[in-house]
Amino acid sequence: MSPLLRLTNVTYRYPGAPRDALSGVSLSVGPREFHAVLGPNGSGKTTLVRVALGSLAPLEGRADIEDRPAQGWRRQELARMVGVVPQREDNLFPQRVRETVLLGRYPHLSMWGRERAEDHAAVDRALAACDVTDLADRWLWTLSGGEYQRVRVARALAQEPKLLVLDEPGMSLDLKHEMGLFELIRGLVDTQGLGVLMITHDLNLAARFADSLLLLESGRPVASGAPADVLTQETVQAVFSWPVSMQTIDGRPQMIPLRQSKESRA
């Protein structure tokens, strides 16, 4: 079965930049797989998503979606295949939850056609899967950060994609809502068979919930594979330039940053 998304030895440099943003990165995401991409700021995580989804063309290597080059997909076709929850969203006008989730049906609608019963059904399913059905008639600006994030995931689900891509979805969420979000994503992978590619800062949650990690540093892949193989003490300390202690919870590595005394600070 061909993977939903595959990057093969991808190298990319932004025009006029002094160094590569991505260098020799490979990644493969299939159905029922939860992949997380980690790394310090500036390690190339968002660039990876842009190349993977065809917004940028790799200078070397390939980016494929279902074995076809990502750049070759028409926008609307790609949107039926991949649901993206980008880092930033600026809702210009007040909207209700149901309306904004309905926007996710756009890839399935023709230019002049109206929304059909099946579109509304898909919206209902998406709302249910993200447990926001009772918020359906609320205005977006009345929602908490965590609720709003779930609504955005619902919108991506309404696209009925096979692959879900999330860019730092847990940022600025509090503990309860971040945990809830990761549980939601894990659940979608397990029950609906979606493939998930998530960029996140949160090493510990990524290690707890994801099937596979890719650790980047300055655009280069440092380690990839099962969380226990990737997040070792030496690797984390080297990449994040900070002393840590590693623990294990539920068989998954968890990182605890250590305090530094003044002398040992490099």
């Binding site: 917004s55 649901g83 210009l92 909207q95 926007l103 756009y106 230019m111």
Partner: protein
């Protein structure tokens, strides 16, 4: 239900435009009256077409530049049109259509300049640059216009500013026909962009990931809205507030789905301008107010009310 009401309001507005006026035409003579057929009727229709075009252009532009304060005249078109008109008068170009054509060409020139500016960052039209560029080009054109007017000897040039203030005095069946033939194409382009415009409200990147061809949509919407505005300025000068306020009023009832919002903005804008023009013609009869003054007098309090709602929300 709300559509029925809107259509009724529009029909009443048009009827009032034809029945009411400073020249007292008795009801039983309406159908035979030369004034009604050759002056009021085309003027009412032109007001409707221009008001509707400005309403739709305003709604589309607000979505495109992601700014609820956007008005079709922020794009520098009015400055270009004024400059074109003044040059036409200064060169003594003759012909009944000299002024509108010159204004249209001037508006297109401004459009071209702003578009070129908007492409500065690469192939992507940056909405912020469109706004800033529009204001800059508009101011530049206005400055040249003022310079020409102050250097030239003709007092007619000073009266050109009166034309720019906005008015439907030039309405004739020819003008109505021209606009009626010209407007449907840009209007159709904007209506076809309804869904992408909905998506664009989320931001360009999310819209792209939801399947919109953002670059193509931006280009099309900018050009179509500008072409509509250029035509409006050419036949009726600068009529402010319609393009700014009508979309917000329409959103109050029809929400933000452009599929419904754009047609509502068209009918609403048309009705508003027809009403404003009737008021302009009758309130201080036999004198006439510039219609831009009436739309501002109506528009500003409405806008203030809307602002209150915005800040409460």
């Amino acid at each position: 239900m709300k559509w029925t009401l809107l259509v009724i309001v529009a029909v009443l507005a048009l009827a009032a435009s034809v029945v009411l006026g400073p020249a007292a035409v008795p009801l039983n003579e309406l159908l035979r009256s030369d004034i009604v057929w050759n002056l009021r009727a085309p003027r009412a229709l032109l007001a409707f077409l221009v008001g509707g075009s400005l309403g739709v252009a305003g709604a589309s532009l607000q979505a495109l530049v992601r700014n609820p304060l956007a008005d079709p005249f922020l794009l520098g078109l009015s400055g270009g049109a004024g400059l074109g008109a003044v040059i036409a008068i200064a060169l003594h170009l003759s012909g009944p259509w000299a002024l509108p054509i010159a204004a249209f060409v001037g508006a297109l020139a401004a459009l071209g300049l702003v578009y070129r500016l908007g492409l500065i960052g690469g192939a992507a039209l940056d909405p912020r640059i469109l706004l800033l560029g529009g204001v800059a080009i508009g101011a530049f054109a206005a400055a040249i216009t003022t310079a020409i007017v102050s250097l030239a000897d003709a007092s007619e040039l000073r009266n050109a500013f009166l034309w720019l203030w906005g008015g439907l005095s030039g309405a004739s069946w020819d003008a109505v026909l021209l606009v009626a033939l010209y407007a449907p194409l840009p209007l159709a382009v904007l209506l076809a962009a309804s869904r992408p415009l909905d998506l664009l409200a989320l931001g360009e990147e999310p819209a792209r990931y939801l399947g919109a061809d953002v670059e193509a949509v931006k280009r099309r919407v900018y050009l179509a809205a500008s072409l509509l505005t250029a035509a409006a300025v050419a036949v009726s000068g600068v009529i402010g507030f319609v393009g700014l306020v009508v979309p917000h009023l329409a959103r109050l009832t029809w929400g933000h789905r452009h599929r419904a919002l754009l047609p509502a903005a068209f009918i609403g804008g048309g009705a508003l301008l027809a009403i404003a023009d009737t008021l302009a013609r009758t309130v201080v009869a036999p004198r006439e107010l510039p219609v831009g003054v009436v739309t501002a007098l109506i528009g500003v309090p409405v806008f203030a009310l809307l602002l209150r709602r915005w800040t409460i929300a």
